[in-house]
Symmetry: C2
Subunit: 369 residues, 2 copies
């Protein structure tokens, strides 16, 4: 297990974020989280690449205050030689740029019934950026991974308490995933310095996996010979039917599509109003399991195939469009994607105890005038 600044121990307080899911109203705690953690406004789906300030952000604890001049990345554990690298040293290594769609595994949680108590995402915990940095595989090869290694543990500088356990945020990857050529230790986002909320000075980016894997504010990489048992791996981010079910770990992003809500909104209700006539419906679709093979748009319950554009990369979303002639009245629009594994978005919720991977189709009500 990776080093932690605090002993891992139970506090006197209950594991408040793994409490019973509720059918009750939104709590003040959920509102606090919704205020801190940023969604991507759906109109940003118009863009191939999301600007950093519109990309979704989930920060479990606080954004750490890192001094890049004294910061070092330590690579240790089951390796032939440990490495300690400054940011300047990392920037001298060969760099790659990878366009990646990241989505929070908890996206859609607040729409579940009953509602698991955690960050209450609606639909917009997603974004796509171009991440530039050193391939992880290059550095692991430099350190020399020993044959008994099974996982690589990534630990951030962000510390706090979750579920009663004090820890620095840490997650692991199986060796075979860590050695993929497109897994990057990123110090640039969309061509600029990594912003504080996206992991400055360095973050891991794992294309195709839900965002919890892409550890921010990275401080150490430890190659381990037994599966990592940290809180964020063994307790959080698991598909469970109930609290005492060991569950299965969350990994790759499930197929999903979203639509730019057409027309103009009402400020408070966000209901959409649209002039009659032709309108180009558009959105994006993505999957961590394989390429998007199709998107269907639902118009008042009838499904019509949309036109797909080429994505900017194998793990970046693709744009879809569908021309529609809006006639006066109330309409319900929806979108539903399928990927190359044959997986499609469900029409009903994917309920689980922690509210993860809810890729149910989006529905948008519009009034055409």
């Amino acid at each position: 297990m990776t080093k932690q600044i605090y002993r891992t121990r139970r506090t006197m307080r209950p594991a408040s974020n793994t409490g019973e899911p509720t059918s009750g109203p939104l709590t003040a705690q959920e509102l606090q989280l919704a205020a801190r953690n940023h969604s991507m406004p759906l109109e940003a789906l118009r863009r191939d690449i999301t600007p950093p300030g519109l990309h979704y952000v989930l920060t479990h604890f606080d954004i750490p205050d890192t001094d890049a001049a004294s910061w070092h990345l330590r690579i240790s554990g089951a390796v032939e030689r440990s490495l300690e690298l400054s940011l300047a040293a990392l920037k001298k290594d060969p760099a790659i740029t990878v366009p990646v769609t990241l989505e929070c595994a908890g996206n859609g949680r607040s729409l579940l019934r009953p509602r698991p108590l955690s960050q209450p995402w609606v639909l917009e915990a997603v974004g796509t950026a171009e991440w530039t940095g050193v391939p992880l595989a290059y550095l692991l090869a430099k350190a020399g991974v020993l044959s008994e290694a099974v996982e690589v543990v990534f630990t951030g500088a962000d510390a706090g308490i979750q579920g009663g356990v004090r820890h620095r945020y840490a997650r692991s990857l199986p060796i075979r995933e860590a050695m993929r050529p497109d897994v990057v230790l990123a110090y640039r986002m969309n061509g600029s310095e990594l912003p504080p909320q996206h992991g400055y000075p360095l973050r891991l980016v794992v294309p195709g996996w839900y965002g919890m894997t892409s550890v921010k504010w990275l401080q150490s990489i430890e190659v381990v010979t037994a599966p990592f048992k940290g809180y964020q791996q063994q307790v959080a981010y698991r598909y469970q039917d109930k609290a005492d079910d060991a569950g299965t770990p969350v990994s790759r992003i499930r197929i999903r599509s979203l639509m730019v809500p057409p027309g103009i909104p009402d400020f408070f209700t966000r209901k959409r109003f649209l002039a009659r006539g032709p309108v180009m419906l558009q959105g994006r679709a993505w999957s961590g399991a394989g390429a998007v093979s199709g998107v269907e748009v639902g118009i008042d319950g009838e499904w019509v195939p949309a036109h797909l554009e080429k994505p900017p990369g194998p793990f970046a979303w693709c744009k879809w469009t569908l021309p529609w002639v809006a006639d006066p009245g109330e309409h319900e629009l929806a979108c539903r994607a399928t990927d190359s594994t044959g997986a499609s978005q469900p029409l009903e919720q994917n309920w689980n105890y922690q509210g993860l991977g809810n890729n149910m189709v989006q529905r948008v009500s519009v009034t055409v005038e």
Copy 2:
């Protein structure tokens, strides 16, 4: 009145965002707004200048999709000569850079009892940036303001419905405020191109006034000879005791201070945990009415003066610090600022019907171990 793309008219729908304040639970509509609109995480108070992705953002309608190449700013109305300026032309005019703290007038709304129904800010709808652009007074002088002018109306590209009224977002300023040398039409934020959510390609920035004044996605400036009666001026952003009270308009930012919550958080509750011993408490204070003259820090109800640093500009926040020796147990910390007009933050809520200007002192509970 400035041009609008839609007729100003009542729709069939009620003025949903001016409904009765409630003592009930948070609604799905409020959660949708909390997801779209971004708070500044309080740990960002450590920085003099807030990066764009951490600065607060309130978008009434949708972020418009502006083509900067065809975009023009129109200056018209009670002027000697109307102007139509491209972005390239604006960038040739003399530029100034002004550090400004912007705060949403609705900051603190969700803490009010009963709770007005609108964007449910907690405490963090604030940020400070360096805005670069053309002084508004320079362009108004170029256009030649006629003597009968009373106000200047600023209209953005963002359109929607609020309180049953369709409009583009528009606000006015009295001529004397519009002619201040520090009011800027900004095309850069912190030295970089204006991000989409902060008003690309051009926004008005009015130092000292609540954020609703600093119109984003600016399209037109109209000098008018009678007070502007648009929705955002005459209905929204007014201090009212009740719904049918004409109220008084919201203008300058009320004195306020906030603290970086010390220690580490619990993920779900955001409660703070801290090791015993010395800790430097810190935060920022600001006022649109005058310089900050003092900050007191409350420690378990006892008020101690904090040390103030020089702010980066007359309308930018100033840092305060106070060393504290944390002893084991539960503590309540607070901070309370006073400005050069003698105004201090209230200890109890400033309730009003729309939930504006609630500058009640922040309280932070910490457990010292």
